[in-house]
Amino acid sequence: MIAQIKPAQSASVGATHAVFIQRSILHSVRNTEALIMAIMLPIMLMLLFTYVFGGALDPGGNYVNYVVPGIILLCAGFGSSSAAVDVAGDMTNGIIDRFRTMPIRSMSVIVGHVIASLARNLVATAVVFGLALLVGFRPSAGFVEWLAAVGVITLFILAITWLYAAIGLVAGSPSAASGYGFALLFLPYLSSAFVPTHTMPAWLRGVADNQPITPIIETIRGLLTGSPIHDSAYWAVGWCALILAGSYLWASWSFHRKAGRR
């Protein structure tokens, strides 16, 4: 005998989000390989740039103070890219049809992935900071500067994760999502993340100075180590807000357009 249960009130928006965030965090924790990579990659990059490239780029041993913001953005980009794979995985699985036919705001399933990605990347960021301090990073920031720097980093992770979520929604499969996402990972190399842009050829410098990563890097670096920020802070927040808004709209549009098509 299958007992009957009374039709319940629909779940509130808050409860729906909480359930999907919990689900995505469980997914993250249980995907052991991806979790190990997300923690190992920042450690390896930090050591690589400090001990292998650092000596050549700045024989004074000060390179670690220059490179920390770059490594954080590089890792955040890498860590967020798994959101594209997670979202594409959900969209190609039957479970999305179940969510869509329930009286809930089914787009929350994407929000769940975004928040879980944010949490994962903030942990990875903390690992980078911890290791950086161990290998000689000496920030000059006070409490307010730290708070602002973490704020900018959080905004960046949020923006790029929504961008990856949108990529995951339009990609036909998880492996395609992974492929498209890969291209974005090169952006930090073409910025002031690892070397000052004035050391680049003029044509490349034009690209590097005007792409979103450079002002974000300069802002974080300025907040942490006291280098001049100028108007980078406005550009950084503006770029992040633009990417965030654009990606969110792109993601919502794709989510609703894809209804019932697999």
């Binding site: 007992a3 009374k6 319940a8 729906t16 479970i95």
Partner: protein, 294 residues
Amino acid sequence: MMTAAIEMKGLRKAFGQHNVLDGIDLSVPAGSIFALLGPNGAGKTTIINILSTLVTPDSGSVRVAGHDITEKESVKRSISLTGQFAAVDEVLTAEENLRMIGRLSGLTKAEARIRAAELLEIFDLTASARKRVKTFSGGMRRRLDLALSLVVNRPILFLDEPTTGLDAQSRRALWDHIRQLARNGVTVFLTTQYLEEADQLADAIAVIAGGRVVAEGTADQLKSRIGGEVVELRDQQDEIIREIPAGSSIREVKKTIDELVLTAPEGSRINIRRPSMEDVFVALTTQEREESAI
């Protein structure tokens, strides 16, 4: 009084140039089991997707549980869907899946936990409750899938090919669950490629092919239209030479065989079987073509 749980009138849907549904009219009484029978590509899944709000029809009127299909939120409150691909979260355990759907259906944490335990028991999954669904067999997945559709009581249940890929035992177990639901007053709308499944479960059957309803009625009514046994004539290599519909009485079958004896090549053998799904379609679709030709 019997009211219609689901009503479709002049339902059409095209994907690009391809007319998937070409004017479907169907009515499903509340509390019955209704089977949509058809081959792959007949439009079964498209109908389920339209009825469950996933796909918007091009034209025609569709009412589900008394609501027009455009009132999506009201419709969603009256239905649950078990799609063709097991709609379960493979990373989570069976229990976590049930609790997640419980919470999303508006149950409190405590209610969701109790309901999950009940359903695990009913669907014989208690021993595997804490295992990740990734490790489940096809039958276990399907049972969990159905359990997820029953977390809260929705009056209409859609099942898209619920037993495809299951062994005979799992199929029978699932059939028992579906019958039990109908006894509790749930309207079950299912699609299947198997004549036997429709025969076993459904109060009414509609056969669709090429996006149109080619026959409608109870299992017995449909069978009488198709005729009885089929006599297969096979050569020495066991290849089928001819298939002859032979009616259902012994007399008719004997007459068919007697006629065959006169013409059959030396060494050929015969086999008598019930009509297959293919025979049904051949019979019904030819009938339809002949009727429309007149």
